[in-house]
């Protein structure tokens, strides 16, 4: 990765950090283009691309017709020919319509063609709950993509990662699924690191602790930190790991932590059943088994569609309280 230094404002909201990363990569590399519905004059329904068309023109900020499969396929074609398209799927739920292009084509093209074609494409998927958009606008599909050979799966949890992981994603020569949590866009401003992390793939440890390891990613990292904070008053000292990427997955950082704490809780916004939290748990149950002093706990969304309304949603998507309860249960073992 080009190791440019970030010289912007000290603190940004998540939405602004992602936008800034797009702008900086577009500035640095002409082949970076944006495509998607409403990314142009409107600037995206979540304002992620706001004002970019004024700056880079409609040839690089390309409003697409309502045709997710085709504009994703078009982007793939452009990518094989040297462009670096960043495709916005307005809500991650709509990616269902572009799955064939992503899974059967973009993810496999390099392998299938015996390395004749690279597909440097970033597919941005604003997803998850918390914004009152209802069952067809609130899903978390990250486990699917992590399961799919050929894809890289980025899932930032904060503005600084939103910035640096997006820059990294755009520079990669492989297809990247970039999960943005809608409910994070307009959260608190946060400082963006001056430089990208030395190891771009490494998990982060936003909170160190000795009693129990909580592994999470995306929006749930914040809830895990809150739960850890609150539970610390009860004398339980949690370490919180932010995976940042679901694939490649930095299980080593998890192992190191569990070696210290002997206890593991994995928290996902995605449905727990057959979700990525099972991968983390299983890896530990295999390769850090002897470190464990307690069963491995998971907290993920219940296997239920997401109704509209945060009150109902809170019954389904992990809350700080449910996370705390799991910590207590695990410690009680």
């Amino acid at each position: 990765m080009r190791r440019e230094v970030w010289a912007g404002m000290a603190a940004l909201r998540f939405v602004d950090a992602v936008r800034q990363a797009l702008a900086d990569e577009m500035e640095a590399d002409e082949s970076v283009i944006l495509m998607g519905e409403e990314v142009g004059p409107l600037g995206g329904v979540f304002t992620v691309t706001r004002d970019l068309i004024e700056r880079f023109g409609p040839d690089r900020v390309m409003d697409a017709p309502l045709a997710e499969a085709s504009f994703t396929g078009f982007a793939l074609g452009a990518a094989t020919e040297g462009m670096r398209p960043v495709v916005e799927i307005m809500f991650s739920d709509f990616v269902m319509i572009a799955m064939d292009q992503i899974v059967n084509h973009a993810a496999k093209l390099r392998y299938m063609t015996n390395e004749q074609f690279d597909v440097p494409i970033v597919v941005r998927l604003p997803g998850g709950g918390g914004s009152n958009h209802g069952p067809q606008h609130s899903q978390s599909f990250e486990s699917w993509f992590a399961h799919t050979p050929g894809l890289i799966v980025a899932m930032p949890s904060n503005p600084s990662d939103g910035y640096w992981m997006m820059r990294h994603a755009i520079q990669l020569n492989d297809p990247v699924i970039f999960l943005e949590n809608k409910a994070m866009y307009f959260g608190a401003e946060q400082e963006v690191a001056d430089e990208p992390p030395a190891d771009p793939w490494a998990a982060a440890v936003p909170r160190e602790g000795s009693d129990l390891t909580i592994v999470s990613a995306g929006r749930m990292v914040g809830r895990c930190l809150s739960a850890a904070e609150s539970i610390s008053t009860r004398g339980i000292d949690c370490e919180v790991i932010d995976l940042r990427y679901l694939w490649p997955m930095d299980v080593d950082t998890v192992f190191t932590s569990v070696a210290k704490t002997s206890r593991l809780l994995v928290v996902s916004e995605a449905v727990e059943f057959c979700g990525w939290s099972g991968e983390v748990a299983s890896r530990v149950a295999k390769d850090a088994f002897t470190s464990l002093d307690a069963p491995i706990f998971r907290v993920g969304a219940l296997r239920c569609p997401i109704p509209v309304g945060v009150a109902l949603e809170d019954e389904i998507i992990p809350t700080v309280e449910r996370i705390e309860q799991a910590v207590v249960d695990c410690m009680d073992f």
Partner: protein
């Protein structure tokens, strides 16, 4: 129709002419949209919704051509389609308020209005998602000996997605009695329709070329929409799909929070309405007293609906996990509940 009964309760006599009926229904739809917008402003609703204000002639003209036992599927901009098919204003507004008296018990919200008992199978929040539903359902009715039909509403944006032509093709192939209504309001959110398809009517040309009976109507003339609707509905009842494109105008922003001034002139919608309001255009053909009777009945109906919607209970949070599966014993965690 449910809505006509509602109005009658407020001392509108029989709506004798088509014009009166269209006027009444369009006014009701608009008043519902206006009420929703008002209450949204007053922060009774969070989340988004898509107003059909100004586009009422399409929902009204088509709805009046339908029978009670016909089926309708709709899209994200479906309040008018719902009301037209007989979903009560209360059920629509209450769903927006996420109350249990909403048409989906308050768990769906603006883009998930469903009312099977009146044939409003409902909205979907995925553009183009409801087209197969309508045709498959209509095809089944036909198979069972009924001459009921389905109407599938979708926008011009939906036609950019291959699913629209594809669904028409499949309906034609299996001879599903489904009327596809393309509500061309000039925009798919910020994407101007003519930039993708050419001038209004272009979509009709494509469907025509598919050898499916197709008509284009200017939605400023509600009576024309109704008449063409009737013709096509009659044709569809013989057991084939048909298509109608209705040119309407999206007066409001795409959704309530949409910064539409970024991609179209400010007040463009309001100005269009001043000049072309299809509701106003109907007035000339309706006696003034009847206009007033309808207006006051509509406003009473909507007031009542708002009141009832506001008083609806919120869903119990314990109810969040209900109804995922029909199969006995299968809840969210399946196995655990089976045993």
């Amino acid at each position: 129709m449910r809505w006509a009964q509602d109005l009658r309760r407020h001392s509108v006599g029989d709506l004798a002419t088509v014009e009166e009926q269209l006027f009444a229904l369009m006014l009701l739809i608009r008043s519902v949209e206006a009420a929703i917008e008002r209450t949204h402003r007053a922060a009774k609703i969070t989340g988004s919704f898509h107003s059909s204000l100004g586009q009422e002639s399409c929902a009204a003209g088509v709805s009046l051509a339908l029978r009670d036992d016909d089926i309708v599927t709709s899209n994200h901009r479906g309040h008018g389609h719902a009301v037209g098919k007989g979903v009560s204003a209360e059920a629509v507004i209450a769903e927006m308020f996420r109350r249990t008296n909403g048409s989906s018990g308050g768990r769906g919200g603006s883009m998930h209005i469903h009312n099977r008992s009146v044939g409003f199978y409902g909205e979907t929040a995925i553009v183009g998602g409801g087209l197969g539903w309508a045709s498959g359902a209509a095809w089944t009715r036909k198979r069972h000996g009924s001459d009921a039909i389905a109407v599938a509403y979708a926008g011009d944006g939906a036609f950019a997605n291959g699913i629209f032509a594809e669904a028409i093709r499949v309906a034609d192939f299996w001879e599903a009695p489904c009327l596809f209504v393309c509500e061309n309001n000039g925009w798919a959110h910020s994407m101007p329709s003519d930039g993708v398809f050419g001038p209004a009517g272009s979509i009709t040309n494509v469907v025509s070329a598919m050898n499916v009976r197709s008509e284009f109507v200017d939605g400023r003339d509600a009576v024309k929409v109704y008449e063409t609707g009737c013709e096509l509905v009659e044709y569809v009842r013989t057991g084939k799909p048909a298509f109608i494109e209705v040119a309407v105008h999206r007066v409001k922003a795409h959704s309530v929070n949409d910064a539409d001034y970024r991609y179209r002139p400010k007040n463009e919608g309001a100005e269009w309405l001043r000049e072309y309001d299809p509701i106003n255009s109907l007035r000339a053909s309706i006696r003034v007293e009847q206009q007033h009777a309808i207006e006051s009945a509509v406003s009473a109906v909507v007031d009542e609906a708002l009141e009832a919607a506001s008083n609806g209970a919120l869903p119990e949070t314990s109810d969040a996990l209900r109804g995922i599966y029909a199969t006995r014993g299968l809840g969210w965690d399946g196995r655990a509940e089976i045993r």
